[in-house]
Assembly symmetry: C2
Homo-oligomer: 359 residues x 2
C-alpha cells in the first residue's frame, strides 16, 4: 500500500521548512539552562515576564510590551482598544487577515467590531485602498508579510505613506507582525524603524522564531496597560506564562540574527523551484523566508509524486497540499534552521526528481 503524503513526510529525515520537529524537545532544550530556583511569574508580575516584556519593548522601539498566550488574543484586544478610544466600532484589514479567516470571528462575536476588507485576495493593501475608504474607521491593521498570499509586502514608501495618512486622519495603525523579523532583511530596516510607523505592534514568538507559543503586543504604556485588563477578561492573564516566555526568549536569541540567511535561502530555493515544470512560486521572488508553491496539476496527481520523492531522497517538502482553482494546488514553504541541515546532494536530487516526475 502506498504511503499517504503525510505518512511519507513523517518518515523523512530532512525538512524544507521550520527549525526542528515540533516536539517536546523544543521546550526541554529551552529549559535546560534555566535555574529551577527561579521564581515563576505571577499573573503578569515578576522578573521573568517583566524582564522579557521590557526587552521586547526595546527591540520594537515601543514604550512598553505585554506577553500574551496568543496573537489571536493580542490582536483582537489591540483593535478593541483603538475602537473604544475613538468610539468607532469599525476597523479595516485585508480579506485574508488572520482575524478574518482563522479566529472563528472572535473579533465580531466578542468585541462586536465591524470590519472593512481592503484590497483583494490577489494583492496587498496599497495607499489608495486606505485613502479611498468611504466610512470612518478606528484602526487599520496591516499584516507584514501578508501570509495567505505567499508572504508579500507593500513597498516601504507605501508603508510610510499609509502611516503618514493614518496619522493625519486620526486612524490608528496596527501591525500584524506575526513574522516581522522575517521581513527586516528585505526592507533593510530594524524592527524599531518599522514599529515607529505603527501605533501598536504584535509579533508571534513561535511562527518564524520557533518558540512553543505566545505573542508580544507593544505600544505606548497607556495602550499596553489597557491591554492587560482585556488580557484578564479574555482569560489570558495566567498565573504562570513562563513556559512560553522562557522558550520565546531562548529561540528569539537563537534565531533573530539568522533572518537574512533564511531570506536568501528562500530566494534561491524559489528560483530553483520555478525551473520545474508546472511549478511557480508566489511571490516569484520571495521578500522574506516564506513563499507559496503552486503546482498546476490536480492534488490526486501531485500527492503520490511528492510522496515518492520523499521516499527516495529523505527530504520532506510539505506535509499537506491544498487544492486551489481547477486542477491546481499549493503549499507553504517557510525557511528556518532545518533547511541548512539538508545535504546538498539530497536537495539537488529532490529538485531533479520533481522536474522528472511532474511532466
Amino acid at each position: 500500500m502506498k504511503a499517504t503524503l503525510a505518512e511519507a513526510f513523517n518518515q523523512t529525515s530532512y525538512r524544507l521548512s521550520g527549525h526542528t520537529p515540533r516536539n517536546l524537545e523544543v521546550l526541554k532544550q529551552a529549559l535546560n539552562q534555566v535555574d529551577g530556583e527561579r521564581a515563576s511569574d505571577l499573573y503578569g508580575n515578576g522578573e521573568i515576564i517583566e524582564g522579557f516584556q521590557h526587552k521586547m519593548a526595546g527591540f520594537l522601539g515601543k514604550e512598553a510590551a505585554v506577553f500574551f498566550p496568543s496573537g489571536t488574543m493580542a490582536q483582537q484586544i489591540a483593535l478593541r482598544i483603538w475602537a473604544d478610544e475613538k468610539q468607532v466600532k469599525r476597523v479595516a484589514y485585508h480579506p485574508l487577515s488572520h482575524l478574518e479567516i482563522h479566529e472563528e470571528d472572535g473579533l465580531k462575536e466578542l468585541h462586536h467590531l465591524e470590519t472593512i476588507l481592503l484590497a483583494d485576495e490577489n494583492r496587498v493593501i496599497e495607499l489608495e485602498d486606505v485613502t479611498g475608504l468611504d466610512k470612518e474607521i478606528a484602526c487599520l491593521l496591516l499584516e507584514l508579510p501578508q501570509r495567505e498570499i505567499g508572504g508579500r509586502l507593500p513597498s516601504y514608501e507605501t508603508l510610510e505613506a499609509i502611516s503618514d495618512y493614518c496619522r493625519k486622519q486620526g486612524i490608528r495603525l496596527h501591525l500584524d507582525g506575526a513574522r516581522l523579523l522575517e521581513i527586516l532583511p528585505y526592507y533593510g530596516k530594524s524592527a524599531a524603524e518599522i514599529g515607529a510607523l505603527f501605533d501598536s505592534v504584535y509579533i508571534s514568538m513561535y511562527k518564524g522564531l520557533g518558540g512553543v507559543a505566545g505573542a508580544i503586543l507593544a505600544g505606548e504604556r497607556s495602550f499596553t496597560e489597557k491591554s492587560k485588563v482585556w488580557k484578564r477578561r479574555h482569560g489570558g492573564d495566567l498565573i504562570s506564562l513562563y513556559p512560553y516566555i522562557l522558550s520565546a526568549d531562548y529561540y528569539f536569541e537563537k534565531h533573530k540574527d539568522k533572518m537574512d540567511q533564511y531570506y536568501q535561502d528562500a530566494v534561491q530555493l524559489a528560483e530553483q523551484l520555478n525551473r520545474c515544470p508546472y511549478i511557480s512560486t508566489l511571490p516569484e521572488v520571495p521578500v522574506s523566508n516564506m513563499f507559496h508553491v503552486y503546482i498546476a496539476k490536480g492534488k490526486g496527481v501531485v500527492e503520490p509524486v511528492l510522496a515518492s520523492v520523499y521516499e527516495e531522497t529523505g527530504v520532506g517538502i510539505t506535509s499537506y497540499i491544498k487544492e486551489k482553482y481547477d486542477q491546481a494546488c499549493y503549499f507553504e514553504v517557510s525557511i528556518g534552521d532545518w533547511y541548512h541541515a539538508i545535504p546538498k546532494t539530497s536537495l539537488e536530487k529532490t529538485l531533479t526528481l520533481l522536474k522528472e516526475r511532474l511532466r
Copy 2:
C-alpha cells in the same frame, strides 16, 4: 531594620500552604521523564491533549472534556454556551464568585451576560435562593468550595435538591470546581458522582493540584465541541498547550489521592489555631484542605508578630494579610504537600509563639 512580612516569609524553609515553591522546578520536574521525541499537540489536536482530555472526562464522569489555558476562559465560555442555548442572557452565581471579583468583568464586557447575585458574603447559596429567583436564568453557577468565604460548602442534600430543581426548571447547572478534588473527602463522593449533578464542570489544574496553569471544562460532547469554537475566539486555542497539559497530568497523579490527608491536616491545624487568642478560622471546622484565618487585631500589630515568628521558627504561615472590618485582618491557608515537611517541633513552636505574642 525589621523585615516586612513578605521578606520574612521568603526567608522561611517551611510553609503552611501549597506543595512546593512556585518556581521553574515545578515544570522541570514534570518534564524530566517525558520523551523529547513526543510530538506537540497542535491547535487542540494530537495525542497529548486528546489523551488527557479523555482521561479527565472519565474522571469527571462526563462524555468529553476540553483543556483550557485558564478557568477564567473556560467558565465564561460555559455560561455563554448555556445562555445562547436558552436565548436568555442572564445567569446567577454567588456575589464573591471568581467571575464577579477577579476577571475584570469579562463575562459582562465580552459576553454581555447579566448576572444575578445569590446569597451574600456570609454564606453559601441554598435551595431557597434558587427557588426564590424572580427572573428567568439560563444557568446557575455553584462554586464548591466557596473560596472567598473560607472554602465553605452546602450540604450534599442541598446540592442534590438544587440540581433536581434546576433540571425541572430547565436551568443549566455549572460547577466551578476549581478545587473540586479537595472537597471529595468531606462529601465522601467521587468526582463523577458530584459531576453527575451538573451539566458542565470546570476544574483547575493548578490551584489545589499543583500544576503550572490550565483548566478542564467537561460536559456532553455537543457542549464541549461548542466550547472549542469559543476557545479559539478567546485566543485560547494555542498551537501548543503541552507545557500545561504535561504538568497538569503529572501533578494530578501526584496529588489526587492525598486530598483526604490534606483535609484532615486542615481540620487539625484549624483546631489548634482556634486555641490562640484573637484567632478564629472560617469555617471553624474546615470542609476541605483550605480555610481562612481571622485575627482580631490591626494589620500593623499582626505583621511584625508574624514576621518575628517566621524568623524564630523558619515556618512561613502566610506572605500577606488582608485588612477586614475594623481592627481585624485575615489570610488563607491551603494545605498541600509542604505542610508535612514541617518538623513537628517547629510547628509546635510556631503555635506557642503565636499564643504568646498575640496577647
